[in-house]
Amino acid sequence: MPVTLFLAVLAALSFAGFQLGRSRAVASAGGRLSSLHSVPTYHGFYVAMWVGLPALILFAVWGGLEGSIVNAMVRASLPASMTALSPQEINLIMVDVHNLAYGNISSRVADPALLAAAEHYKHLRSIGDGALAVLMLAAAGMGLQYARQRIQPGLRARNQVEKVVTVFLILCSLVAILTTVGIVLSLLFEAIRFFNKVPPLDFLFGLQWSPQTAIRADQVASDGAFGAVPLFTGTLLIATIAMAVAVPLGLMSAIYMSEYAPPRVRGTVKPILEILAGIPTVVYGFFAALTMAPFVRDVGQSLGLSVSSESALAAGVVMGVMIIPFVSSLSDDIINAVPQSLRDGSYGLGATRSETIRQVVLPAALPGIVGGILLAVSRAIGETMIVVMAAGLAANLSGNPLDAVSTVTVQIATLLVGDQEFDSAKTLSAFGLGLVLFTVTLCLNIIALRVVRKYREQYD
C-alpha cells in the first residue's frame, strides 16, 4: 500500500530531521545553551517541519490530482468505438478498467481493449507513484538543507514552530465550515440535477410519490411520480406522534427531577434515563419493528381497528421514547437556569410547589423549553433507522396514525442503498429530499439555538 509506505518514510525522515536539528542547535551554541533563542527541541521541530511539510503538501496535491489525470489519459487512449459512447457508459467502462487493474472481478467479460486499457492504467499509476516518491524525497531533502543552514543560536525556532502550529489549529477549526460547505454544495449540486429532470414545484407540491416508475434509464420521469407531499406529511405525522410522547414525558420527568426529586433519586434516575439516549437507533428500529408494531397491531385489532403492520404509531412511539432523554435533559438545564429568586418570590406569597412550577417557573422557562423542543423536532425529522425499519415504504398521503406512511429519510435511505445510477431521477431525488431535510433541520436548529442562547443570556 503506497500511501502507508510513503507516510511511514516521511515520518522517519522527519524524525531524523528532528534529531539532526536538535544536535546541530546544541553544537551551534557551543556548550552555552542559554545563548540559543529557543531550546534545542524547537530547533529539532523546526527542521522536522521543513522536512515533512513540503513533502506532505506535495503528496496531498498529487494524491488529489493523480487519479483524474491518469483517468483522463486512459480515457483518451481508449479505442474510438468506446470513446463514442455516452458519458455514463464511459464511466462504467472506467469502473471496469479500475477493477481489472486491481484484480477485482469485472462486471463484464474482459475485452482485449479493456485489458489493454487496464494495463495502461496500471502502468501510468506506477509511473506516477515513482515520480511522486522522487519528488517527495527531493522536497524533503531541500527542506532539510534549507532548515539546516538556518540553524544558529539567534534563530527564532520556537516562534516559527508555533506559527505553523497555530495555522494547523486554525485549519482544524475550519473543518467545521468545510463540512457545512461540503454538505450544502453536494446537496445543491445533485439536487439541481434532479430539478432539471423534475420541476421543483412538482416535487414540492405533488401529491404522489412513486420513484420506482422512473427506473428505466430512457424514461422521462412521469408526472406526479416525484411529488414529495406524502413524504412530508408522513414525516410530520411520525414526528408529531414522537413529540406527543417525548414532550410530556420528557418535560414532566425533568420537572420532577429538578423540583421534586431528592438528590439520591436524581443521582440514580438521571443516568439511567440517559441510557435511553445512548442506545443506537438501529436497536430502537429493531424494537419498533419486532415488538412495538405487532403490539400496536394486536391492540388495534382487539379494539376492532384495522392497523397496518407498519403503522406510523409504532414508529412514532418508539421514536418518542428515544427522544425523551433529549427533551428531559435540555428542559432540566433550562429549568435549573430559572433563578431561585423567582421561586422564592412565589413561595413567599404562599404558592404551593406545583403552582410555582406551573405559573412561574414554566412561563419563565418557556422560551428555552420551546427552543429545546424545536431541537427535538429537528432530531425526530432527521431520524432514519427507526423509520426505515418500522415505517413502510408506501408513501400514503394519510393523517391516520394507524396507517403505514413513509418519511423523507426512509426514501433517502432506500433510494441510495444498493446499486445506483447517478443519472436517474430516482437516485437524484434522494438528494432533492436531502436538501429539503437539511434546509428544514438547519432552520429549526438555527432558530432553536438562538432562542436557547437568548434565554440563557437573560438569566446569566
Binding site: 487519479g67 467545521a176 463540512t179 457545512t180 420528557g250 436497536v283 403552582e355 433507522m385 437539511f438 439555538l449
Partner: protein, 436 residues
Amino acid sequence: MTDIISDTPKAAIYQSDDFAARLRKRYAAERRFKMYGVVAIGVALGMLAILLTSIVGQGYTAFAQHDLALEVFFDPAEIDPQGSRDPAVISNANYGALARTALQAVFPEVEQRTDRRRLTSMISNGAAFELRQMVIDDPSLIGTRKQVRIPLASDYDQVLKGNIDRTLPETSRKVTDQQIAWVDKLVANGQIVNGFNWRLFANGDSRDPELAGLKAGLVGSLLTLMVTLGLAIPIGISAAVYLEEFAPKNKLTDLIEVNINNLAAVPSIVFGLLGLAVFLNAFNMPRSAPVVGGIVLALMTLPTIIIAGRAALKAVPPSIREAALGVGASPLQVVTHHVLPLAMPGILTGVIIGMAHALGETAPLLMIGMIAFIVDTPGGFGDASTVLPVQIFMWADSPERGFVERTSAAIMVLLAFLIGMNAIAVFLRKQFERRW
C-alpha cells in the same frame, strides 16, 4: 368599595372554612402534579426495561447453539478416489455427502427419497465447509471414522430452543412432526449437543442463520473507528484548543461556532449524503470501505468532541494560565504544558462518548455502501466491509426465525461495547474530577 384591600390585615380570610377547602383542593392538585412526574419517569424507565428485556429475552439463547454429534466416515472414495492427496482434489470433494451418510446411518428406517431429503435438511450447509476444513488441516483423517460436531440447521435449533412452537398445528410451522420426532430421537441418543456458540464470533455473515457471525462486522467497526479516532482526536482537540484559547472574537470564529453547533444537530443521514456525493462520487474513493465510513463518522462526531473539549478547557481556571504566562511560557506552551493536560480527562470523556455514538451509527454508513454482504473479514481500510450496527440492520431484515435471535444477540454485543465505553468515560470523569 373604596377600600377593598382593607386597612386592617385580615387573618380571618386565611382561617375561613372556604380557604381550608380551597387549600385542600390546592394540595390535591399538588399531589396530582407530583404524580405526573413520577408517572412520566416510570413510563420512561418502563420502556427502557421493556426494550432491554425484550432484546435480552430474544437474544440470550443465541449464545448457545445445538450441534449434531455424528460419527463421520471420511470415505476415501468420496474425498480422494485416486489417493493423490492433491489439495485441489481434496478441497473440491463433496463433504456434504459425508455428513448426509453419517446422519442416514442413524436413521436406517428412512428410505424414501423425499423423506431422506427432509432428514438431511437437518444438516446445515456449513457442515460441508467445516468437514472440508478439518480434512485440509489434517489429511490423515481420510479413511478414518471420527465423532465430529457439525452445525444443526437453524430451524431445528430453534425448535430445540423453543423459539418455534411445536404445539402449533403442523401446517403453520416450518418443521414437520416427523422432523421433530427425528430431532427428539437424536436428542435421546445424545447426538445433539448444546454448547457455546463460537460461530457467532468466529464467522462472517451468512445466509444461513446458524452460520452467520459477527466477525466481519466487528472487524469492520474496529477499522472504521480507528479511522474516525485518528481523524477526530487531532482535529477535534486542535479546533477546541484554537477556539477556546487563541481565537480572536470576530466574524470568522462566530461563524465557526455557529457551524459547529448546527452540525451537532444535523441529521446523521445528511452526513451520509455528503460522504456519497463528495468522497465516493467526486473523490472516487472505494465504496463500502472503512476509510470512507471513518471519515464520515469523524465529521459527524467532530462537533461533539469540539464542544466537549471546549467545555473541558473552559473548566481549567485562568489562574493556571496566568501562572504559566507569568514564568515566561509562550501562549502555546501554556496550553500544551499546562492547560491541555489538566483538561485531558474531560476531553477524553467527550471523545469516548463521541466514539460510542459513532459505533452505534447506522444511517450514514448505508449511504456509502457499507451495507454489504461480507463473509470474509476485511483486511484493510480500503476493503469492502460492514459494521456491527449495519450487520444488525441486515439481520433484522431477514425473515428466518433464527435471525431474530441472532439480531438480538448482536444487539447485546453492541450494547456491551457501548456500556464498556461509557463506563470508561464515567470512570475517567470520576477519577480525574477536580474541584478547583
